[in-house]
């Protein structure tokens, strides 16, 4: 987004203001606040204790915080710049850098003031969070007239990037269908569970392949399975996510009555009720005009019907 000329004029005007008026710390550098700080941070450095204590350098900003009911002064350049970017739709903020330099040790009783000036406003930048402007300010802490510490502070003022639309869940992962497996998927479409059979030696095999592993014959045919079997083994899949599935799901290795084994998902079951040896029946499920997938269900005790 390009900014109008007035925006850049405002930036230059705030920069030209230079340092804001000094804002005084509520309290002089004092031991109770240092003790609270070292207690919370867990810093046991002996320099920060006792009547000759010095202030932890990293506490510099603490002395001049605005406090529970405080607000920025009207001439605070960071506040002015935030308001300008808010008004132009860059309403979110995140701090990115904080660089502090300490010119000397601070002693108990020193009374500090702080000023702020606007250093740079750089943008628009495209970031992971959205389009935004980097605003850099410099604070200078004084003890009397003497600068004792400085901080360069950078924030990103940004418009949150619109969330990407949710990925449309797919119902199934479609199988890769090859010359060797075409008969199987044609079978499910036709309401049959087909098992490859070697016409030469009669061996049944699954998954399908181009050649009989027993005799080497290359022109397989198939038989139609009963659709009954039992669980040879199974896993309960909790993770990772599977497109279109509500986890956990049970994936069973089903041993068919005919003797071959076949992997498939067990539908509508409580994983706790599944066990090795449980009888199962085929549940062909039509996905669309081009695909019907074989699933399995735990067989009810009187489920003796043949398919289809």
């Amino acid at each position: 987004m390009t900014m109008p000329a007035e925006f850049f004029e405002t930036v230059e005007k705030i920069k030209a203001m230079g340092e804001s008026g000094p804002r005084a710390a509520r309290d002089p550098v004092n031991l109770p606040m240092i003790n609270n700080w070292t207690e919370a941070i867990g810093d046991a450095n002996p320099r920060y204790t006792g009547p000759d204590a010095e202030a932890p350098p990293a506490m510099i900003q603490v002395w001049t915080m605005n406090g529970l009911h405080g607000s920025r002064s009207a001439d605070d350049p960071l506040g002015l710049m935030m308001a300008e970017l808010d008004a132009r739709g860059f309403e979110s903020v995140v701090a990115t850098n904080c660089d502090q330099v300490y010119h000397r040790r601070l002693r108990l009783g020193e009374r500090l003031t702080v000023t702020t000036k606007l250093e740079t406003v750089i943008g628009p930048k495209t970031t992971g969070l959205g389009e935004g402007w980097f605003v850099t300010t410099r604070n200078i802490w004084y003890s009397g007239e003497e600068p004792v510490a400085e901080m360069v502070f950078r924030v990103l003022k940004f418009k949150p990037a619109p969330k990407a639309p949710p990925v449309e869940p797919v119902r199934v992962t479609r199988p890769m269908i090859s010359l060797d497996t075409r008969f199987f998927w044609d079978g499910t479409q036709a309401g049959e569970l087909r098992i490859q059979r070697c016409p030469a030696c009669g061996t049944l095999r699954h998954p399908p392949g181009p050649m009989c592993p027993s005799c080497g014959h290359e022109s397989p045919e198939y038989v139609v399975a009963s659709g009954r079997g039992e669980i040879f083994s199974y896993v309960v899949h909790h993770h990772p996510a599977v497109p279109g599935k509500k986890l956990p799901i049970v994936i069973a290795l089903v041993e068919l009555e005919e003797g071959v084994r076949m992997l498939g998902e067990l539908l509508d079951c409580d994983p706790a009720e599944v066990s090795i040896g449980s009888p199962v029946t085929l549940a062909l499920t039509r996905i669309d005009d081009d695909l019907t997938l074989p699933f399995w269900r735990l067989a009810s005790p009187n489920d003796q019907r043949r398919l289809p």
């Binding site: 900003q61 850098n97 660089d99």
Partner: protein, 129 residues
């Protein structure tokens, strides 16, 4: 004698809710996202999170614990990464980047569950490590 490549002892900070709140208040940072979980969540955060003044304080502690009490911290520069929410654990690691006269520059990384929380450098003199 401090040399480039010297590795600092690791520092682990359990960022319990008590830690997040007590450090925020000890640094006089009363922004609600550092002590009020309901408001922090309403503003899109997962939980209350550690404030920046505490990060600077922890980086200083990590380096000065190693450098010894005679050391003088001259500067701390930090880049802020992913937030450190309550119940996270921050692990500080660091090593000596350069030694120029009495000034030692140390690089510091504080990692939490979400990744790098703070990446920074500290310049310190009077190191007795």
């Amino acid at each position: 004698m401090t040399e480039v490549g010297d590795v600092l002892p690791e520092l682990r900070i359990e960022a319990t809710p008590t830690f997040v709140v007590s450090t925020a208040l000890a640094t006089r940072d009363f922004q609600d996202v550092h002590h009020d979980r309901d408001l922090a969540i309403a503003k899109g955060s997962k939980d209350i999170f550690v404030n920046i003044l505490t990060d600077t304080g922890l980086v200083q502690r990590f380096v000065s614990d190693w450098a010894g009490p005679d050391a003088l911290v001259k500067s701390i520069s930090i880049r802020l990464g992913v937030p450190c929410y309550a119940y996270d654990t921050l692990v500080f690691s660091g090593s000596v980047l350069s030694v120029e006269g009495d000034d030692v520059t140390v690089s510091v990384i504080a990692r939490g569950q979400l990744g790098d929380h703070v990446i920074g450098t500290v310049v310190i003199s009077g190191v007795t490590a």
